[in-house]
Assembly symmetry: C2
Homo-oligomer: 445 residues x 2
């Protein structure tokens, strides 16, 4: 299995247009998933053409938006196919982003090792095979532990036996891959008071969304194997904690729905966590949120989390680069710095391009959907931010979308997953001999 | 009069913190206007404290949003004060932006003159006094011609005599300064079929919003006094025409309100023109626009027009810089280019900073207003984009805003006018000896 993936990566490395390869790969997986899900043998009820395509894209892209109920529409085998699609999408994305991060920071790493010692904890000599192995093991171990934890929790809730085991496995995979697809029709709204379920989802989703590099980085640091975590990991972790904290506090103090709950803190935390990790499960009904908190959720989905994990969104690193540009210009600094480190010019342009493109896409698609849908603008904007960020939260308009609307959301989920990565690779491939200046500290975006 | 302004500019030039000077200046004018408008002698009816402050800020900032009817609330003298505030705000902004443009491109101009001949049509030796004189003459001549044109048009509509003269003068000043304040309670909705009124407003607003430099640039070119217009002017004019064209076409073909009209083309053109020049008069009821076209209007208000005139918004030059970054990165160019010219790094960072700040402000204030207002998100976003862009169009929620809401909009109008300029100056002052590389073509942002 590993050698197959390895040879694929080798081909990927030497191919002239890896980004085209990538688009094709994701497209073929989506098509395969769609064809499998179209087989009536896997259905409980009739499922329309466009809905099968929607569910397949939603699973592969680990978004989790649904136009129909997964549990009511597909039998066990259909659900199993969906889980496999999620797993493929999740591992695929995790390995690709990790690879991207390693590849783009390689030169900097070498320089670090030579000049100031290995601050970047991933050995530069790491083999592609070893690294894929590590990512896959990491995924399987986390999902295994998650399944056990879910099983205990579901047992408490009266979901036992084979059903309990199946539900535990499905939601563990869906959580770690930040896919947000659920076998419950109201996501986790019925379990908002179950502490174990809340923690299980949160830990899996945070681990999955921060990604292999950040987690191992922290792990090495904790076990004393490295002196400090890398600049990129530091930015991601700090940014994640700060945004998660602000989000939770705002939900805790200002959302009427959360304020009325007995599990106020847990709901506030979960709602921020689910938006940022882009896992997309929810314990409060999104359609009933007040406007300000709906906007906050859009903002958190828009940012997302780490560039090294399974999360979508514009990424914390891009946000950091934007803050750095603004701060440095206002202070009249000659170079763009953050936390006393200079960010290389090349990175800044990649970040700026990502910011412009990501923001324009959200507004372009909201504009297009405003022609085809009857919904209010806040609901449309929410749906678009959720699809492009591969989050999967919804105010409830997904099932009622027009056919054109559904098609636009399918396109957005695909772009949210493949586009962002392809765009990164495309920019990267062009870098070639460009000036990643020696004295700069690299920030992956 | 000129020497007074001249000495003010000299003090401005030598002052250590011109941007603070600027904020204070605008603040004092607003305060003065507010105090004058608070005198009951100038009222027809009682006007609340906050409404006087709102109207004063709206006039000085040439926004034109109103919480109360200007005609019903203030008598002739009150209205006259408002016109003077508009004129001060308009000329003040026009001279400051022109000065900024001349100042920031001076070095490039000198270089041009030495190396490739004077492509930039403003003589580098131009005197501050001469330049202010030119701007003021330009303004007065345009407003005089506008008044005559308005008088003929209003005469057709049965508004004659002293009232006709007063209304002509007021709306001519308000049009050229892109202030959008009107003595009619429904702006120009009653005159949507009057061709002369539509043309008069459009020509005045386009001249005012493009600004002195762009207009003279084109004028010199037409009269054969220069071989080509500057890169900056070219970008502004092309961008303006392209966006105006796209906007008009979309309104013409997709807005039900416009499609039902007998003056379809004129309404489509006027609606795009009023958003981009940020004059803010309207001939169709904004509150009745369909969602897609409301969003389009928000986009056009967000962009605005030229950095050298009285218009607000993020400016076409900033948009161009963003497009240039995206295009150049995607094509893998080493330098950021547009129309085969390299844009200096410093400019790119100013543009990026403007883009980030302007976009964040719109979302921050929309978020804040979503807490204090009952309106739907599209209406709130529209109001915020209109206030920050100093446009003055509204879906009709202005009068119903809460006191906190009104205060936030006052702050936004002030920031939209002063903040943008101050921010530009602040960045500029920091530039000092930074690398405006010789081979780069400068694009003012
Ligand atoms: K998701
Ligand atoms: K205006």
């Amino acid at each position: 299995m590993f050698s197959a993936i390895q040879s694929r990566y080798k081909r990927f490395q030497i191919s002239k247009s890896p980004q085209l390869n990538l688009v094709w790969g994701f497209f073929l997986y989506t098509l395969m998933g769609f064809l499998l899900l179209s087989i009536p043998l896997f259905h409980r009820t009739d499922v329309a053409f466009l809905d099968n395509l929607f569910i397949s894209t939603s699973a592969i892209s680990t978004t989790g938006l649904v136009t129909i109920s997964i549990f009511d529409s597909y039998n066990f085998f259909g659900q199993f196919i969906i889980m496999i699609l999620i797993q493929l999408g999740g591992i695929g994305y995790m390995t690709l982003t990790t690879y991207y991060l390693l590849f783009t920071t390689k030169r900097i790493t070498r320089w670090h090792q030579k000049i100031i010692g290995a601050e970047f904890t991933m050995p530069a000599t790491i083999q592609i095979k070893d690294f894929i192995k590590s990512v896959v093991y990491f995924t399987l171990v986390m999902e295994f532990l998650g399944t056990i934890s879910f099983y205990i929790a579901f047992h408490q809730e009266g979901i036992t036996g084979l059903k309990g085991m199946w539900f535990s496995l499905f939601h563990s995979v869906s959580s770690f891959c930040t896919a947000g697809s659920s076998l419950f029709n109201d996501s986790f709204e019925s379990f908002s008071e179950n502490t174990l379920i809340n923690w299980t989802i949160s830990i899996l989703a945070i681990a999955g969304s921060l990604g292999f590099i950040v987690i191992t980085d922290v792990w090495y640091r904790i076990r004393g194997k490295s002196k400090a975590i890398t600049f990129t990991s530091k930015i991601i972790i700090y940014g994640f904690i700060i945004l998660l904290g602000i989000g939770s506090l705002l939900f805790y103090f200002t959302e009427p729905l959360v304020k009325a709950s007995e599990h106020r803190l847990m709901e506030a935390f979960f709602q921020s966590m689910t938006s940022m990790t882009t896992v997309g499960f929810n314990t409060v009904p999104i359609g009933s949120l007040s406007l300000p908190l709906l906007l906050l959720t859009i903002f958190l989905m828009y940012i997302g989390a780490s560039p090294s994990g399974t999360a979508g969104g514009m990424k914390i690193t891009t946000l950091t680069a934007m803050v750095a540009i603004l701060k440095s210009r206002l202070l009249g600094q000659k170079k763009i710095t953050f936390l006393k480190r200079t960010i290389p010019l090349e990175r800044l342009f990649v970040a700026t391009s990502t910011f412009i493109l990501y923001t324009s896409m959200i507004f372009l698609f909201s504009f297009l959907l405003s022609f085809t849908e009857e919904s209010s603008f806040d609901k449309i904007l929410f749906e678009v931010a959720s699809a492009l960020g591969t989050v999967g939260l919804s105010t409830g308009i997904t099932a009622d979308l027009s056919e054109v609307g559904k098609s636009l959301i399918i396109l957005l989920m695909f772009l949210g997953r493949v586009g962002v990565l392809t765009f990164g690779f495309a920019l990267l491939m062009r870098m070639k001999k460009q000036d990643l200046k020696l004295k700069s500290e690299d920030l992956a975006v």
